[in-house]
Amino acid sequence: MADTRSAAAHDAHGHDGHDAHGDAPHGSRRGYLIGFALSVLLTAVPFGVVMAGGVAAPVAAGLCMVLALVQIVVHMVFFLHMNSKSEAGWTMMALIFTIIVVVIALTGTLWVMYHMNANMMPDMSQMSGGM
């Protein structure tokens, strides 16, 4: 008897917590407009720099990549409403895990393939042809 009553009480208690993180975070008009204005700026500058020319290519490329990274964060915050509290922090955990996997996959691929390419023997095709 005591057993079932206690379990029921526990169950009810567990439910109070559930409703709290059921609703997703919502944006406001102001938030969307700020995000939009920032995005326009962060898009127009790299396009302008590349299309106008005159800036050294490595500098322009670096600028484009930095601004893209900033814009991704802007979108995450103002459009996707990322924060560390939604779904009890699990969306943020999933995002961090994904970023780690993406960074490993991208740097690993580029690193390995660059060296494979650089270390290719110059006339491999002719060598195998002569065998």
Binding site: G14, G22, G27, A61, A105
Partner: protein, 209 residues
């Protein structure tokens, strides 16, 4: 020896809750959809990696500088950015319970999305017409795969958007529909995030090479 141990039955009983918790419908949908988006993100990461490896393998064919029209890409980027803003406005109208405004903003989002797709298809057909199709070089294969996969996502997003407009029109702003709209909101904004990577790494850095 035995006198030290507590006699059986006198310790505090420990209760375990073995029954599955009852979840309200859709309570875990948003987290699940977020996890789907993260897995989708990995697909795009691998396509970006392929672009990074093959993007400069021209096979003696045309290079990004000869092919890409940055003005067109800028217009395309603007279309997607406008559609993100209008979708945000749609969600706010939905939260305020204004069904007409919600449908109007969704229609605007759909038009911007369709314009984006139209421009992209025009660009693709133009490239193929010039003999710069996906079979021309590894550079163009990886270009069409990456940008085409993004375009395919936008296409399915548009289909989903249309279906949701019909559902909202038929059944109104019930909780299930609001949940679906929230999922599409994440999907749509996520595609805009991927596009930031595309226009930066494919178009801008491609032309700079």
């Amino acid at each position: 020896m035995a006198s030290v141990a507590t006699p059986p039955g006198t310790e505090q009983p420990v209760f375990y809750d073995l029954d599955p918790h009852e979840h309200p419908p859709g309570a875990s949908t948003m987290l699940g959809f977020w996890l789907y988006l993260m897995s989708d993100c990995l697909i795009f990461a691998m396509l970006f990696a392929a672009w990074g490896v093959y993007g400069s393998a021209y096979a003696g064919g045309p290079q990004p500088r000869d092919l890409f029209d940055l003005k067109l890409v800028a217009v395309n980027t603007a279309m997607l950015l406008f559609s993100s803003l209008t979708y945000g406005m749609a969600m706010i109208s939905g939260d305020e319970g204004k069904r007409g405004a919600l449908l109007g903003w969704l229609a605007a989002t759909g038009l911007f999305g369709a314009a984006f797709l139209g421009i992209e298809l025009y660009e693709f057909s133009h490239l193929i017409h010039e003999g710069a199709g996906p079979q021309r070089s590894a550079f163009l294969s990886s270009f069409f795969t990456l940008v085409g996969t993004h375009g395919l996502h936008v296409t399915f997003g548009l289909i989903w958007l249309t279906v949701l407009m019909v559902q909202v029109g038929m059944r109104g702003l019930e909780p299930a529909n609001m949940r679906r709209l929230q999922c599409l909101s994440l999907f749509w904004h996520f595609l805009d995030v991927i596009w930031i990577g595309v226009f930066t790494f494919v178009y801008l850095l491609g032309v700079l090479r």
